[in-house]
Symmetry: C2
Subunit: 122 residues, 2 copies
Amino acid sequence: MQIQNYRQVSGKEEIPGVVMRVIVGPDEGAPNFVMRIFEIQPQSSTPYHSHNWEHEVFILSGKGIIRGTETERTFHEGDAIFVAPDEHHCFTNTGNSLLRLICVIPLIDKKLPTTPSAKQSQ
Amino acid sequence: MQIQNYRQVSGKEEIPGVVMRVIVGPDEGAPNFVMRIFEIQPQSSTPYHSHNWEHEVFILSGKGIIRGTETERTFHEGDAIFVAPDEHHCFTNTGNSLLRLICVIPLIDKKLPTTPSAKQSQ
């Protein structure tokens, strides 16, 4: 077994205001799926995009909205969110404190999947 | 997308002192893996067992120990734990408050895997 506190894992700020940490993944020997933590600053958002894999999300703290093609829904601590493959989505922190969430994705060919940049938009 | 707060999901107490809720799984259309929450009372434990699939765990609150074949390690809030396939394991709440953790497992043939009872022991 392997144990590490997420706060000790190096984060990557791919978008201003959004830091992602891979807390269980290929480096730990994960064979099928990857657990990540996102920390999103107030008023910051993940990209509005889609991809052909799912998200299974758990809200650790904070609150926000998730925007889809035709819907926009609020969420807060303790919510579990399923985003189906090919469903457009974007998480925005609408609160005054850090939004922290777990987001699990499948491994594809034993690697972290890469979102096609052509599908990304802010 | 689908959103539900874990507190609104029916729990199942399979072992005294241990309640499990499936918060994202086949009922939500999950194709590859299942997100569950376990709530473990002080001094209670999950079974000491093994199975041929992995666990990816995140400690939401509380503290405890995880016992393996040759190791026993402590954990607390914010820890991410990887338990490899076929690795024996058992989570015990050693604190005075509820131990809450997320545990993600793969779907096998699109179903929740069932731990072989012959491998279970308290």
